[in-house]
Every structure is written in structure tokens, then in C-alpha cells.
Symmetry: C2
């Protein structure tokens, strides 16, 4: 089987096993791709998508926005070719030597400095957190202080310390978000959300 055929068969299996659900068609394309990436049907219960978040993400991508990730793994997994088709790009500042240097000088985490450094790129862009609750929490603080203004936050940090809490805090804001309840998440599933949005954006072109 070719990769396309494998994906189509996978989606058919997921549709069949998922059974009835209340996701709107575009939202289901996102959730289905998250399940495809993780083989974890629990995402059907865990995923939370704010009103208009899907439209905000599609519009941002169609306008050639910058997608900023908190991990190079998420950046690696994102279909940068699809973003580039709209004039967009993907950036991750975690491995930027200037970020590392500044974090060291200030005695704060690289995740924090990376979010601050990304603020100018964030306007009309999408911020993707696949790993660091610190990044998401600091982003929320910056949004509150009007220091950052992303079109969409994909908040999917994974782990046992502050991951669930940072996502709960995201869900209390007015910023458009795609996130999940609980500890699960990660770079592969975060990338899958952007890829699902980018593929929907391509269908509309």
C-alpha cells in the first residue's frame, strides 16, 4: 500500500471505531488526525476546541502566518511545505544560541526566553506548545499583559508537572485554543493539529 492508501485506511478504521460523536466536520478532521498520530481514542474525550478556534487557525494559515513551536520535534513534524504554499513558515527558537545565552544570563528557562523572543512574530500567528508547560504559562501571562497576540494557541504540553494545570489555565482565557484536558499531549500530536488545519486550508484553496 502507498502512504496515501495507508492513511485513508487508517482514517476509515478510526471513523468506524470512534462511533457517533458531536464534533463538527472540521473539528473531527483535527481530532481524527490526533488519534491517527497517537492511536489513542481518549483524545475524543480530552480535546477541547474553543469557539471559532478552527476557523481562526485555517484563516491564519491561509494568510501565510508564522507557526511558532516550543520544540524542534514539533517543528520537524509540521508540514512546512503546506505552510509555505500560503507564504507561511514554522519557527522554533528553543535551539537558538541567543535564546540559550539570554536564559543563562537571566537565570530563567530557555522556554520562557523563547516565548518572549517570539512575541513579535506572534501577531496573527499560531503558537504551538507540545512540550513545555512553562512556555504555555508564560505565553498566557504575556497575552494577559497584551505583550503577545496570537490568532490561535495550540496548547498540548505533556507531563506530570503543570501540564494539565497550564492547559486548564489556557481554557479559562478568551484566546482561541485547541487543547486537551489532562496530562497527555506532546510534540507529535501538536504537529498533527497544525497539519490537519493546513490540509483543511489547502482544501479550501
Amino acid at each position: 500500500m502507498k502512504p496515501d492508501e495507508i492513511e485513508a485506511k487508517s482514517f476509515a478504521i478510526i471513523d468506524a471505531e470512534a462511533g457517533p460523536h458531536n464534533f463538527a466536520p472540521d473539528a473531527w478532521k483535527i481530532v481524527r488526525r490526533m488519534i491517527h498520530t497517537t492511536a489513542d481514542f481518549e483524545y475524543m474525550q480530552m480535546v477541547k476546541i474553543s469557539t471559532n478556534a478552527v476557523a481562526a487557525g485555517i484563516n491564519a494559515i491561509r494568510k501565510g502566518c508564522t507557526v511558532i513551536t516550543d520544540t524542534n520535534m514539533a517543528k520537524t513534524g509540521i508540514r512546512k511545505d503546506l505552510l509555505a504554499g500560503f507564504g507561511g513558515r514554522c519557527e522554533c527558537l528553543m535551539a537558538d544560541p541567543r535564546v540559550a545565552e539570554q536564559a543563562k544570563q537571566r537565570g530563567v528557562t530557555r522556554a520562557r526566553v523563547a516565548v518572549e523572543t517570539a512575541a513579535p512574530m506572534m501577531k496573527n500567528g499560531i503558537y504551538v506548545v507540545g512540550n513545555a508547560p512553562t512556555a504555555l504559562l508564560h505565553l498566557l501571562e504575556m497575552i494577559k499583559n497584551k505583550a503577545a497576540d496570537p490568532a490561535l494557541v495550540v496548547g498540548l504540553p505533556v507531563g506530570f508537572v503543570n501540564a494539565a494545570e497550564s492547559k486548564a489555565a489556557l481554557m479559562e482565557t478568551n484566546v482561541p485554543y485547541i487543547s486537551n484536558v489532562g496530562r497527555k499531549g506532546g510534540s507529535t500530536v501538536a504537529a498533527s493539529v497544525i497539519n490537519a488545519l493546513a490540509l483543511i486550508a489547502c482544501e479550501r484553496t
Copy 2:
């Protein structure tokens, strides 16, 4: 909290919630890191580690082996600094233009050509599958035909078409393996296994 402190706290939470288990100390370090990466305790039941696979992996890393991955995401997540400390490195051929060209000419998948191209690097090395069942199935065929001879196979493809089947086939061989039963897996968890092995190798230095 600093990243090290977050990790230590996360491991303490996992230890407490995991409860009693029968993993040997080194195997638990691997499984615990898989849980840390995924927040999925199901790995306690799913993971299968063949006799001597942990020792084979640690020895290979300590000898400066090449770690070959089937995805650039897994390569991105692997602590290449730790491998380099032993003279080792990490390679992924999926994005190699020669692999793409050959796959196109022969009408086969890139995953298949990437495995074949990696065979000469595989002696005493570790092959890591985090995504493509095709890669794992073709590797098993090559091992059977004595065309490949890795010291360890980390077989953790994820998905709905042949992922579980390819891992079941791996578990029927005599090659040292770290794998899991079922559909779950992926690049982040595959990288976490190599990082756990590399950290154990560092402790022994």
C-alpha cells in the same frame, strides 16, 4: 523549577502512581521515561523487552554505535550530545534526496529504501522505528536474509495499519528488541527509549 527538578518530580509522581511492578531497575528507567514522554501508564502493560536487549543497547551506545531512525522527529528528539560523548551519532535517511529518488525510480516506499540504504551502518548499531510499520517489516526481512544485523531494534511504530502486526512479528524473532504490544508508539516515545539507554550508559562511565 529548573528542568532537572521538573524531571525528578515527574519521575517521583510516576513511581508513586505506577505502584508495584516487576521491571528490573534498568528496564524501569526505560519504561518510566516512556511514561514521562507520553503520560500514558498503559506502557507498563504494553512494553516488551527481550532478554538482554537493555544490555545490548547500553553496550552498543557505549561503543559509539550509530543510531538509525525512521523519522526525523525521532532523530530530533534523541540526545545526540549523549551519543557523541561515546563517539556515536544518529542518522535518519528519510529526507535524503538519494533515497527519495531511488524510491521513485523503483516505485517503492521511501521507508523501504531508507532501511536498505542504512544496512551498512546497522552492524553493531541500533535501528529505531517510531513511525513506519513498512520500515520495521522490511528490516525484519533483511535480518532474516542476513542483509542486516543490528545490535538492538527499538520497534515502536504507531497506527492502525500493520503497526501492531509488525511489532508482533519483531517479538517472534531472536533479535534483541524493545517494543510494545498494540497500536500505540511513535517518534517521541521511540526517542525516549534511546535517551533512557544513553543516560544509563552515561551513569556507567
